[in-house]
């Protein structure tokens, strides 16, 4: 029996220790918001927080997590930063297909926890591991600034 602390609740389940957290979340615990995109930590669609750090759940074995606190997209709205990020995403109508956006929101929330007033360079560094196949990057950048209470203009403009 494995025990994990997810979104403030204790979950117990049977699973091999090498099973990636993503598949336990999705197929055992029915938390389907975290998405499978690449299975090798390349796209960021599966991003969750482990003790506040963004990690790729598709390459994180459940046996490696121990007592650390996991936050998923289903729980991130309970934090003040996560809630602001979700609202900014809706205010700016960021998404197209929406498949990557759970991962984007998790990465953005972790970024803002570390850099409450991020520069464009901070955003580049914090978000470059998340692919948006629809390429909604213009609005992702603006929404992060909005959630941070910054002007939404892109300082990289020539």
């Amino acid at each position: 029996m494995t025990a994990l602390n997810i979104n403030g609740k204790e979950h117990h389940f049977e699973s091999a220790a090498d099973t990636p957290l993503l598949w336990v979340l999705r197929d055992v615990l029915n938390l389907k918001g975290s998405k499978y995109g690449c299975g090798m930590g390349q796209c960021g669609a599966c991003t969750v927080h482990v003790d506040g750090r963004p990690v790729r759940s598709c390459i994180t074995p459940v046996g490696s997590i121990g007592a650390a606190a996991i936050t998923t997209i289903e729980g991130v709205g309970a934090t003040p930063t996560g809630s602001k990020v979700q609202q900014a995403w809706l205010d700016l109508d960021v998404m197209q297909c929406g498949y990557c956006q759970a991962g984007q929101i998790m990465s953005a929330t972790a970024l803002l926890e570390k850099h409450p007033k991020p520069t464009d360079k901070d955003i580049d560094a914090g978000m470059r591991d998340n692919i948006c196949r629809c390429a909604t990057y213009v609005r992702i950048r603006a929404a992060i600034k909005r959630a941070a209470g910054l002007p939404e203009t892109d300082s990289r403009e020539a």
Partner: protein, 734 residues
């Protein structure tokens, strides 16, 4: 052949339209409308000539909440929001009172339910407004009957019918039951609003599923959950169309969690995008199935692969450069004479690679086969075609196949094919249990209908005045198609377009703006070369070509296939103005601006890109300016700008990616070797629309094609180096 596109942006309501009315559970009004389908006016459209019936449902509950069915698959293009907006506008309700529901597949009731070709807005703009207007008319008639006043004396607003003279008013929810008993209006004659009175159309409205998605609720195909379902993986031959001879099935069946392992032998040969040979593994969890897949050993018959490598394609194409093409697509005047008489002649070889679609949600499908009935949960762009294929492969009538349209984690043309659907149905039947089939990223990258690769051998001539007098293109194609009318055909006195096709084992298909995404690159870049050869400003050079009378004469942009020179000039002039094109000589060394323009899917786009190439060759895209013309009305400006910005960045992304083959096997497998653009590489994109007096056209695709040539032409302006071969490297050799 180009994919099917609707010829007319206008819905043709030449036949009588019908409306049926019934009472919804709970006493509301249920409107079920049938409209004749829009007419398909091209020869290629024969398949669809059976005039599909369009039908939309509106449900009005007693509390006034209006539920509108969203008929088409949502792939990120925003139709689950924009199509219901059309109905809500004419129904005259507030958007806050509207709920949308994804319709099941039922093309007899709803008409064509597909996502492709940027057709949703042109194909539904009038018909769905009429659906809403008919509903409004019935509610007004119900109030008129209740109050004994003429309908003409009544007005509506925000879901309320009012009689000004007596001060009476009633909410739609109160009138719905009565309205359901009244005669149905003729949709062909129902009155529509004047666009100046629009309250919903033309306003930025957020995606209807977005509040669910930010909370991580299950809305995608991959999230489908059926009681008792197992999880499947399906391994196909690395070479398209290869046969399965055997596998270590006994060993696989003994692995943890594995319930079934069996060979699938395609009854149809497996060369197209249907069922192919392979090995299915069904387990208690997808991870267990995936672990078992690592132990799978298969014996394949790959067939002949000697002529199926990318370097072989390149060598073979190069040898064809000076040969006559196998097929002549278009011939005007005497191109050889034009070269002989020219002041300057330019020759250039262009090439672009195969591309996969890389939808971020890999192909997947959930299926259940029980008592001769099949139930499917699929993220598909063409669920109707999938239904027919599943019925045919499983030997059941199409009516026995129910299809749930699941939100798609990206489409881009990949989900026009339904291979995953027929695989899931087949595996579920063989397993005797409901299954969720999910491809891993390697399988998704290696079993696609790829954007065709191609080689173009151009030769162009300009005279002493800098006019384009001759143009020749020999297109050596790997699964692509050639447009005989590619601009500037008809505007150059001597022109020769020819094609030679090389044999290809891999499947090819439509990638966002199919045909156009690669044609825009080669033609717009070569025209830029000719402009420089002529000593002219590239925009001025194209404007001049666009002012040349064309043979055969254009039809002023009324047809989706016919380009209007006026409209193209309009967007070129607008983008020149907004981007500061005429000031570009003031840009610092290593920074340059390039332009591209293209007409596709009824839309006109011109784009200017500004790039900087640093001394070491590092490339940075600083900014993109876009001017678009999609007619008289943008339905949802928020979605529209998002589509355009995304398409432009997607276009840049395409220029840096490639799929290559080695003896029939795709060499890339995931995002580490098939690169997608990241946020730090994505430039700001400034979008302007030009409003013109033409029916609205779609926005899923037409903003993409000009991005690639604008980028390549900007690199030339910055460095003097021509990009004639894709992919581009982020660090250029300068």
């Amino acid at each position: 052949m180009r994919p099917l596109l609707h010829d007319s942006a206008e819905v043709n309501v030449s036949r009588r339209t019908f409306l049926t009315v019934g009472a919804a559970a709970g006493g509301g009004l249920l409107l079920s409308f049938s409209l004749p389908g829009f007419r398909l006016g091209t020869a290629e459209a024969g398949e669809a000539a059976g005039a599909p019936i369009l039908n939309a449902f509106v449900r009005i509950a007693p509390d006034g909440i209006v539920t509108i069915a969203a008929k088409n698959p949502e792939i990120g293009q925003g139709v689950k929001t924009s199509l219901p907006m059309l109905i809500a506008e004419e129904l005259d309700v507030d958007w806050k009172d509207v709920r949308t529901e994804q319709a099941l597949l039922d093309e007899e009731a709803y008409g064509r339910q597909s996502a492709g070709g940027s057709t949703a807005i042109p194909g539904n703009y009038l018909s769905l407004r009429r659906v809403g207007a008919a509903g409004r008319q019935m509610l007004v008639a119900a109030a008129a009957a209740n109050w004994g006043v003429p309908a003409a004396a009544l007005t509506t607003a925000s879901g309320v019918v009012s009689h000004k003279a007596s001060g009476r008013s009633a909410k739609y929810g109160e009138l719905a039951a009565k309205a359901a008993t009244l005669a149905s209006p003729d949709l062909a004659t129902v009155a529509l609003k004047d666009p100046k009175d629009f309250k919903i159309i033309g306003k930025p409205i957020g995606g209807v599923d977005s509040p669910l998605i930010v909370r991580g609720e299950p809305v995608f195909g991959i999230d489908a959950d059926v009681p008792g379902m197992r999880y499947a993986v399906f391994e196909k031959c690395p070479v398209n169309g290869g046969k399965v001879l055997g596998a270590n099935l006994e060993a696989i069946r003994a692995l943890p969690g594995v319930r079934h392992a069996f060979l699938v032998k395609s009854p149809e040969g497996g060369r197209g995008m249907g069922l192919k040979d392979g090995v299915a593994i069904v387990a208690d969890s997808w991870w267990q199935a995936s672990k078992a897949l690592e132990k799978l050993e298969v014996k394949w018959d790959e067939g002949v692969v000697d002529d199926q490598s990318s370097d072989y394609f390149a060598r073979t194409a190069a040898a064809l450069a000076d040969k006559a093409p196998a097929k002549v697509a278009r011939q005007d005047g005497d191109v050889e004479q034009a070269f002989a008489d020219a002041a300057r002649v330019v020759e250039a070889q262009y090439e672009y690679p195969f591309l996969c679609h890389a939808t971020l949600e890999p192909q997947n499908c959930t299926a259940q086969v029980k008592d001769g009935k099949v139930e499917i949960w699929a993220p598909s762009q063409t669920p109707g075609s999938g239904q027919k294929m599943v019925a045919s492969m499983l030997g059941v009538p199409a009516t026995a196949v129910t299809i749930h349209l699941m939100r798609c984690g990206g489409g881009f043309g990949r989900r026009l094919a339904n291979d995953y659907m027929v695989e899931a149905a087949w595996i579920a039947r063989e397993a005797g249990e409901p299954v969720k089939l999910l491809w891993n990223r390697r399988q998704d990258t290696r079993h696609d209908a790829y954007r065709p690769a191609g080689f173009h051998f151009f030769k162009g001539a300009v005279d002493k005045e800098g006019r384009l007098t001759g143009l020749r293109n020999h297109f050596v194609s790997l699964g692509g198609w050639a447009g005989a009318g590619e601009f500037p055909a008809g505007r150059v006195p001597n022109l020769h377009y020819g094609t030679t096709s090389l044999p290809l084992r891999a499947s090819t298909g439509a990638l966002r703006a199919p045909g156009s995404n690669e044609s825009a690159f080669v033609y717009q870049c070569f025209l830029d070369e000719m402009a420089h050869a002529a000593g002219k400003d590239p925009i001025a050079f194209q404007l001049e070509l666009l002012s040349t009378p064309v043979e055969p004469a254009e039809d002023a942009g009324r047809r989706r296939f016919g380009m209007s020179a006026d409209r193209m000039r309009g967007v070129l002039e607008l983008v020149a103005e907004n981007s500061g094109w005429n000031m570009r000589s003031r840009l610092p060394k290593g920074t340059g601006m390039g332009v591209g323009c293209y007409f596709s899917h009824g839309g006109y786009f011109a784009e200017v890109m500004q790039v900087t190439v640093a001394a070491g060759g590092a490339l940075k895209v600083n900014k993109v300016w876009v001017a678009g013309d999609v007619g008289s009305q943008i339905v949802n400006p928020s979605g529209a700008i998002n589509q355009v910005q995304g398409a432009v960045i997607d276009g840049i992304s395409q220029a840096f990616a490639q799929i290559t083959f080695d003896r029939g096997r795709v060499q890339q497998s995931n995002f580490h070797d098939f690169h997608m653009l990241r946020i730090d590489q994505a430039p700001p994109v400034e979008v302007h629309f030009r409003t013109t007096d033409f029916p609205p056209s779609g926005l899923g695709e037409p903003a993409l094609p000009p991005a690639v040539p604008a980028l390549c032409n900007a690199i030339f302006a910055a460095t003097g180096k021509r990009i004639r071969r894709l992919p581009i490297e982020w660090t250029l050799k300068v």
